[in-house]
Symmetry: C2
Subunit: 350 residues, 2 copies
Amino acid sequence: MNAPSQRNRGQDKAAESPTLEDVAERSGVSTATVSRCLNNPSVVSEKTRARVMEAVKALGYAPNFGARALAAKRTNTFGAIIPTMENAIFARGLQAFQEELERNGITLLVASSSYRPELEDKQIQSLVARGADALLLIGHDRTPDTYDFLEKRQIPYVIAWVHDDNEARISIGFDNRKAMKLLAERVLDHGHQSLGLISAQLEGNDRARHRLEGIRDAMKERGLDPSKLQITETQYTISCGAEALATLLHSDPKPTAVLCGNDVLAAGALLEARKQGLRVPQDISITGFDDIEIAEIVSPALTTVHVPHSNMGAGAAKLLLAMRNGEDVEQSVELEATVVERDSLGNAPT
Amino acid sequence: MNAPSQRNRGQDKAAESPTLEDVAERSGVSTATVSRCLNNPSVVSEKTRARVMEAVKALGYAPNFGARALAAKRTNTFGAIIPTMENAIFARGLQAFQEELERNGITLLVASSSYRPELEDKQIQSLVARGADALLLIGHDRTPDTYDFLEKRQIPYVIAWVHDDNEARISIGFDNRKAMKLLAERVLDHGHQSLGLISAQLEGNDRARHRLEGIRDAMKERGLDPSKLQITETQYTISCGAEALATLLHSDPKPTAVLCGNDVLAAGALLEARKQGLRVPQDISITGFDDIEIAEIVSPALTTVHVPHSNMGAGAAKLLLAMRNGEDVEQSVELEATVVERDSLGNAPT
DNA sequence: TTGTATGCGTTATCAA
DNA sequence: TTGATAACGCATACAA
């Protein structure tokens, strides 16, 4: 009386996804052979391969990713978690990362954490559960739990966008502190004595903290009191940058140069300055960081720090690829970030 | 002599991912119970649940996504394929889309197709193989094969960023043709007789084509010969926009107003105009499309078409959610796009 | 070169 | 409330 416990097929109208078995049946071979045609074609005879591929096409077969991961224990998928997709800060680097991966036949999954460590932790879990073979992470700041998880699972990962001698983890990036110090020195060279900083949230963001330290370093070296630096913390959006500048303009002494944590913030600050009738750079100087496209299209064009986006992305991919292949990568790589002077930085008003 | 074919555990140092079975063993229950604790906690006794959850935490257990998808046949994952991540055109809409999904406990996977239909087709396959329960797609243009695949697999999908009465598929967006016509009318109102268009590639991009048609509609209505419209097709980047303007300025008659396919292109055009010593809008008018952030930060600020990014994103999520829940959605939704006048459009030079 | 058989980690059905 | 156990779709060791 019991119905044979076979997979029902044919008469149910809801089109099920074709499986290996379907293809095998249609082409009159075993599932193993079909699998081989897909993964290791060279080992199967020209003739049967043709027949199988024909069936694959006819059925619109595509392998079930989960099943494949389950059986093969690797996915040829890497993951990247970036703080935000809302602006272009990470776009170019990610693009380079992804191109390099594609060249090596691996697929990229991207998630964004909105600069929130707990969310990032979830994203990491999710990507790992989805079978990510390796991960790209931005910056060192995250909970010990997260790192424990990564270690326990033996997931290769690389930290990008930073280079910090104090951290042992493999990373690829530039020294944010040094880079910002370079820029601050340039600002001081123009005679500014009273500086302001529009920064991202400092907590949970080592890049932002290091940039702040870089400014302080420069001030100290020039005999200025670093505690005089006016700091506003805000989110990375244009309107926040504008607001932040307005706030800063109320402080005493009013800064004659405002350094911004990135170009987006600087664009906002520029907007606010214009709105308040301030000329840049005659009345106030404003600098950016990152050198993304908008740095050139705003006017005046931003003096900013050029960050090696593409090199970081491509380099990160290479590191990760090497790790995944079992080579042991021991050296972090430090890239150079350089100041690019355009028009938004001028001499201090007298 | 044969070793028992059991899963080796314990003595191998490479920390394997803990499985349901590991958790079960540690908490002295069956795997079924552990599974229930995770998916349907209410049905298991308080006491055992506590013990199980303790083990879960201790082991750092996280369910294997592939296995789960395989067994449960749904993933609570939706996919979105957008043409590009390189600029912010889709960022805001995607953000809204994702927020709405998150609110409903579903995860978003994003892929970008670089405006290439074959690549998009691959991405769709990949997302479906990864278990995406539903898909967000941009625009109607894609191969019949792609649509066949979607139908065959019964994957719910919605087309966003467009509303086209001629297409039967469920979509949410605005009428690109109408929107661009509105803008073109505004341009003509300013006395311009000679228009140029910097467009994205027209092939495979119905949005771009409809925008072109919108301009032609407006010209016809005003008694202008639509074939006189100077068209340049290019990629969506700032530098391409700049190049394209340079090209257009060589045409005869030289356009006095150049409409751009989007704000990124317009920003580039603005840059080139400045470089050539042309004042905008006194010497030449330039308009954008999309109303993304850069529209406001360039100077002069762009006259452009404001697109309901957030509403499209959130609305698309709601449609897809409804479809996934088996409700049948029959109506496309049309949203409004409106012209926003800022400073880059002025009267035609006399 | 091809086929058979097994296991991957879950969920879900059925009994207990 | 819990425990066995049969799928799920695929890759691969082993046999033929």
